[in-house]
Symmetry: C2
Amino acid sequence: MSFAGLPARAVVVAGLLVMSQAHADEGMWTLNDFPSDKVAKAYGFKPDQAWLDHVRLSSVRLAQGCSGSFVSKDGLIQTNHHCARECIEQLSSAEKNFTETGFYAKTLAEEPKCPEMEVNQLVAISDVTGRVHKATAGKEGAALADALKAEKAGIAQECSGSDQAIRCDVVELYHGGVFNLYKYRRFQDVRLVFAPETEIAFFGGDPDNFEFPRYDLDVSYVRVYDQDRPLDTSATHFPYASADAKEGDLTFVSGHPGTTARLYTLAQLEFLRDVVLPDTLFLRSELRGTLIEFSTKGPEQERIATDMLFGTENGLKALKGQLAALVDPKIIAEKTKAENALRRAVNADPKLKAAYAGAWGGIRTALDGFRDRRTRFVMTEGGQGFRSTLFRTALELVRHADESGKPDQTRLKEYTDANFPALRQSITSTAPVYPELEKLTLAFSLRKLREALGPDDLFVRKVLAGKSPVERAAELIDNSHLADIELRRRLVDSDATALTDANDSMIAFARLIDEDFRTERANYEATVEAPLTKFSGQIAEASFKILGRATYPDATFTLRLSYGAVKGFRQRGQDIPPFTTLGGAFDRATGSDPFRLPASWISAKDSLNLAQPFDFVATNDIIGGNSGSPMINKAGEIIGLIFDGNSQSLGGEFGYDGSVNRAVAVSVGALKESLAKTYHADRLVTELAQ
Amino acid sequence: MSFAGLPARAVVVAGLLVMSQAHADEGMWTLNDFPSDKVAKAYGFKPDQAWLDHVRLSSVRLAQGCSGSFVSKDGLIQTNHHCARECIEQLSSAEKNFTETGFYAKTLAEEPKCPEMEVNQLVAISDVTGRVHKATAGKEGAALADALKAEKAGIAQECSGSDQAIRCDVVELYHGGVFNLYKYRRFQDVRLVFAPETEIAFFGGDPDNFEFPRYDLDVSYVRVYDQDRPLDTSATHFPYASADAKEGDLTFVSGHPGTTARLYTLAQLEFLRDVVLPDTLFLRSELRGTLIEFSTKGPEQERIATDMLFGTENGLKALKGQLAALVDPKIIAEKTKAENALRRAVNADPKLKAAYAGAWGGIRTALDGFRDRRTRFVMTEGGQGFRSTLFRTALELVRHADESGKPDQTRLKEYTDANFPALRQSITSTAPVYPELEKLTLAFSLRKLREALGPDDLFVRKVLAGKSPVERAAELIDNSHLADIELRRRLVDSDATALTDANDSMIAFARLIDEDFRTERANYEATVEAPLTKFSGQIAEASFKILGRATYPDATFTLRLSYGAVKGFRQRGQDIPPFTTLGGAFDRATGSDPFRLPASWISAKDSLNLAQPFDFVATNDIIGGNSGSPMINKAGEIIGLIFDGNSQSLGGEFGYDGSVNRAVAVSVGALKESLAKTYHADRLVTELAQ
């Protein structure tokens, strides 16, 4: 991880660069603050407003955590296999396992609806910093938290009105230094078009995850429907380029990086390193062992657990990379230096000192205070103690009934009118619920709850009611009828009385403990979230005043554009070329899991161009959430599909090192070659060629 | 964790107390350097040499990792249930599960032999520091490692000669500052006499482990036989006291604390915190999840996995406590201060500076160099990548065949003539081998190996041979015949040719990779172990010269004596009294795992004195390895049986805080009451009363 380079005002404040200055191809830039001049200087191409607007409208967010883009005039979206994986699994059954066999709808009529997918297209960005700051000025603790929530809900409500096809989010940039209103078109009718087999989408499995060289066809296609017809995207899509990119070519990636912590203070990094990451990693490691062993019980168990296992393993590898970056003394040392420099500059100016000098201490105090109580928050409102779809649904029903009687601006934010479409989709999802898996994860998490808070804790006693975690989970799952979709549809608009009448174990359980959850959430919002927003915002303001707004905000799962070039890197003493080939996949296959190619590939081998580039890397600065992002050239054509970063990019949570950080993509040529020759997906091939 | 107190020479070197001065009841003292004066001053009783000798000879070490003591004139040993658990499980079968039902031999003839238990009785301690220092003077790296190994083996060989009933270990005290020769009588004929049900031995299970208040009857009795007759211990045992101890009473604990890191340097603590502990905890967490889920496959799976699960969970809780102690900035800050003070004192004296000033940097350099290679070492020679009894046996056979042809002093240390009895016991153990569990743990660990080193690593490729971890584990286990005890007995003295002729998959596999293991071990010994011994020894010498030998050495799984008093403590704002009662166990029982009392207890309830003290705490300074230690009064009578420390004692790895660190024991009265009234173990009751 290198943070070298020259700060904007090196004369004034040496050592500030972590806070101040993007470096080489670094940066996850917002679409309304893109450094076109910098790109022009480095690569000789200057994106203009029309180009940026087209990129914005052709890119989409998959609301559950991924990115994608329109790639035809008929609402066709290209994203990753692993981004549609949950949909593919939900559409599968013990008899038809599309995660194993792949899926291809030969006609429009055969495209099935994904039960829980929501697509967002960003139509406008506006600044609301002044409004938010005015509403929160001078407030602290719970009053600050309430004011922040109310103002954000009010702004969102004004923006979307009662139009459920519009989604408006107030986004905190620079951790509270800037508030922007993001207005989206919201699509919930999203249907599956094509997915390859997991064996090739995730060839190499967990061992190859976050690695390069790589040989994955991690693609799926879904289609957005509007009023039961394919959405017209004739003016807002990226066509497929006719040829693959070449080494050195300029590349743009437009997508939704989830979170980064590059602007965190030292206290926040230490809290991550010492508390959050170890704790999370222990729990996930144990869950991983549980799921792998559960999967050996039979093919059906393997099928229903795979999506959760992949997610768990992916998170483990990413978070282990973060921890490794933080225990390397370098990042902490650089941060300390930069932070001290900024604090010195603040202290040197009496006005700045009065306004901002307490911010760093304020953050440390808030986190120190949270240390002891964090476990309880994470286990309750954080969800770690109650992993169960039925429980989540029950809690949503109970809260919806309670919250809908309150004024919109005082509700828990997921229960505002503006957020109701997402809630309805979650509650009435047609995704199957597997009691065996529910029992597994609920028993697991109840055990972790008991472990974290102790068997004598009053809340734990209330939750377990004298039973063991296994017994209690079984009892709750067996006596709940919420797996029944019709029942959920009926209950989604029910009041508290109707819910009581439903006489459901899980609804009763959710009601029993909701107050405890709410207590932890209120405490967290008032003593951690609100102070952090306030103090981080102050630090951002101080930085703007001293250094100007020279850098991009930390990632917030909102649309960002990064630029870079196709380029290899050096790893363990070897030069790694930027491209792999289709032939390389055959060389790497051992026939054993997870290095087994699907039958379709083996039988297509002779017809494939084995020299065709398969996956490749570029210097674009991306992170988790960017999965499914389009990689485009300056003509706005798809040259690749982002699906990963290399292991060296895992420290990207805290900074970008252009010498080794790499984004990993499937090349457009590999997409076309395999669709045509391996899958004979002619309808799709034709649509993409238009 | 408090390290407050006054150093011996506070005038000279302030802040040195961590290295220098035991505090309150702190200390795991060697039997030849016990601070009797201090005890006399604090508690008015001064142990004399005869008293100490009697304690030494009445205490025993269970070589696989526990402590115990003779408690009758006929070789009867009292230890923990969890210390004999492996034996109990090995003597069980699917039909007779003694871990569940408990075990009681009504007659001497019914006492079955534990397949792998070795008992050591410490008969003499002598100093060999001069010899070792002379043999290693001026050497470095591999030469140093070889000289150290050869001299230790030579000393041990001289001590035991060819008498296999004598075991001699050269013990590194103060991490190399002092070398002592410990001479033991070795007993391998150890038979099971009594064990209660796991439900009461481990009542509260993992949730209550390392906690107090507590309600566990964590006891078992085994008997040492000599030439097929009970060993005569008429002069060397602790009789049971007639009454329980009372609050404030002086208590001694004589046992074998495993390891502590109180004298570690800052670099060593950071290495533990940043590398060793996270890494170990991730792996164990995953193994825990695997074993718990495996146990749900059926009662037999539960039975065969339980011992490993308990061990894994116990380790997890202990290591998590260590990590929590190290990420608390206090310990690191105190260590930094103390280390800086000692280094200043060294630097202030030209002679000391020349001899010792480089030691701290030397340790840091060795550990920095090990960072990258540690994973490979841990996975190979450290055993983490190859968890399988059959593999361990195969490797022992292969190495024994190779090593026995070499001069004794150049062999790997486990293969010297002096260590052959332990090796033979391991190879020819009659403990059952469970192929299903073998496959589980071997597949698990091969997967971790691949994850740690990557699928492209040449060693990993050699190990997996193109198969998946599951396939490879199955193939190796299925094609090995080493589960056959007769075969192992036949092969234990075979040469390499005979081993090849055995045509066994696991032997071939061990031979295939032994060289890779040896390479890692040799590198570790030369670049880590030997430099650490050298530099730590230098630091100890410097400390002796500046401060005198005022403190005890770190724990080394050798006999130590601690003193203290029966005393409660404060926890989460509450005063915790030192004693629980038998009645408390009935109050705490929920009927659900792990808070379920066995049927024997429920039916005995009316006959039991429910006010009888059950478990209790004292301030004695102990740690893992002390399990099974006798707690005695000044009359040398058993007043309790150590089985745990409280959670506050987990940071005891790095220091002792007398205000909250507590040792947890079963009271002698509870042992007698339950043997008589719950178990009607009349033969045992009579023997203990004699």
